[in-house]
Amino acid sequence: MITTTASRNLEEVIEECRTIFDIPGIEPAVAWKHAERGRKLIGCFPVYTPVEIFHAAGALPVGLAGGGNRLEIVHSDSRFQSFVCSIIKSTLEQGMTGMLDEIDGMVFHSICDSARNLASVYTRNFPNTPVEYLHYPQNFALPEAAMHLRSEYERLATFAASITGTTVTPGRLKESLSLYNRIRRLIRLLYGLRAERPHAIRTSELYSLVRVGNLTPPERHAEILVEALAAIERREGKSRDRLRILIVGSFCEQPPIDLISAVEDAGCYVVDDDFLIGRRWLIGDVDTGVSDPLLALADGYRNQSVASPVKHDLRVSQSQMLIDRARRLNADAVIVLCAKFCEPALFAYPLYRRALQAAGIPNLFLEFEEKMWMFDRVKNEIETFVESMLFA
């Protein structure tokens, strides 16, 4: 477990984060469960889960993030075909090899067709693990969408309570909302800081600070983020002449952290990204001063959440939001970094490309798989792209 000491520098904090998440499986969460006798773990498939509900029921929401590049797929590729993205298979593989045995409940959502079918396959293969499937609204203009989502969240609360034995009361939910509001504010601070002073914190470091929240109790995650913010303030660094890059497309399956480093090492400052976007899904605080916090949380999804290819909010143009974001952050270019076979990301790309070209913003399309471990080719592509911009 991470211990807080006033003098820890950022490297030390990051090092400990990486020891928590950098191995396949969910061992740190299992250790928590054993220490907190009687408590439960609820696994949350990406992209976004209203984790506050599980926390309010007394469970630890465990953020599943695939198998990385150290998990060998042996069993699950006979269940899902070669044209299905890796995180579907690596999640099932972890289940089939016993790595998720301590999970007391699982939740999937209507993000894509493969994830939806995985929910069924998981249900069948693990009859002792309760599985819930959440329908997110797809028509954001409908005023009724928030109420329908509220009824979905209520079902989720009942599901969580059936696992933990603790009812999700409005009071408990408000406490959880406050805690997660705070975590999101801290992450937003870190993201803002990186956009302003990208030399002060590497993206691979920022990624680690967010990712550790997948397997850590939120109370502890907030402490880590506070400690990191203080450590960054003490850090000395000098800005270099690098391209400011916005990366989009990696919102579900995650690129290996070494790939993120490779992007930076190729001569880029990443000024914004959508890695682990579920942890920053809500862009403002959920109002805890209301009588119906479940509705407030649902309304946050409808009216105060990020643009994403797994959301189809046509009140705004996703492409235009990307252009606005790039301009606001003074980005020199956009890299669309898609997981191989990720349909939502691959479908977003043609619209992005059209809009980026029309706006005169250079862009590069790259594909990755979580299991990749050689980055020379990708790095070379990015270097060439950077050079073409610097010396054009």
């Binding site: 075909q81 067709d113 396959v121 819930e132 329908h135 028509n139 329908h148 189809h312």
Partner: protein, 422 residues
Amino acid sequence: MEKLQYQGHLHTLQKELMGDYYAELTASANGSGLPAAYLLIGGNPVEILRAFDILPVFPEVNALQLAVRKQSLPFIQAAEFMGYSSDNCAYVKADIGMYFGGRTTPFATIPEPSLLLCNYVGCNVYLDWFEHLADYSRRPIFQLDIPFIRTASGKPSKDDIAYVTTQLHRLIEQCEEITGRKLDQDRLREAVRLSSETGALWSKIKHLTKAHPAPYDAYFDSVTMMAPLYCLRGTQAGLDFFETAYAELQEKANAGIGALSEERFRYVIEGPPPWPHLRTFRDMFSRWSAIAVASTYSTVGGLWEFGFTHDPDSPIESIARHLLEWNLTNRNFLQRYDQIGRYIEEWDAHALVIHSVKSCRLFSAGQGDMREYFTKRGIPTLLVESDLEDPRYFSEAQMRNRIDAFFESLEHRSTQGQSVTV
């Protein structure tokens, strides 16, 4: 081997009807016909459009028509040139390529939409597809948000039904704006009545393949009937077609006439057809005297054979139930296992063939698990892969080898009593 003739009277009748339908599309495109709305096959509330005299246009049907006529590849490639991935659904790519290619096809000129009606029933690609069309065409879009079947009961909740019903009323308001006239309740009831009777006949037709021999192939011949089922449902012409079809097929069943001269194997097939190579694929089964007695693909638009019927006395709610519960695409993957299991038992099939298509992950993702499920239950199961639209993914020699090996094994199995998985 002598080339088999599959095309009979029904096929000719279907071609005529679809020719008329496509002439209506062309007229609409030329500005002399009805306003057009694009919508999707899954579930689909076509009755509301019919009540407003809005012409339904199904991009999926257009895309598959391109594939059957071997015209899809240049459009797919045009879309890929725009940035669409080789791993994206090729229906979408063919349609987008065709849209930018002037909307001209060998069978019709496709009109610009007055409305993009995205009836989201399970398939997330639908959402992307229509979002893109809205972006390109700048035409109004209505996203009909249909909650997926996700509870153990296999039924939609009361909230779901109320939510969809509310949306259908909003859709009606939008149709009123487009056409400039109020909904005629009698017209809606009439369209729903026609759908109800059409669905009842289609259901009876589906049950006819329980006969030995089956009077028609429930995959390759069902697709012939699916075109009028979707494009003409809610019209008198559509109903007339199904009256003729039922009478003809029932007569064959009663007379003990099969679809093939001999019926040796009865199988259930899962997954959409390889449209660019439909005839070749069909021959691979026919040469084994194998007949599909049931298919999941023929239920994407509706599951009438398991008891659904539109209700003219409660038109909106029955349309909502059709969208929510009574079509394959909005049901979860395990419900499909149950559906197939029922077909195998009640339609007396010997085997399951899974045609896994890369384009459609709604259908395909996880079919390896499905194979495992049925194999463990002693059902011989074959899994083959190609695509529904992209001709490049069909490997004829490999496909033939696998199908031959499977039926050879089935022959042996009858003497050995073993399970078969290929």
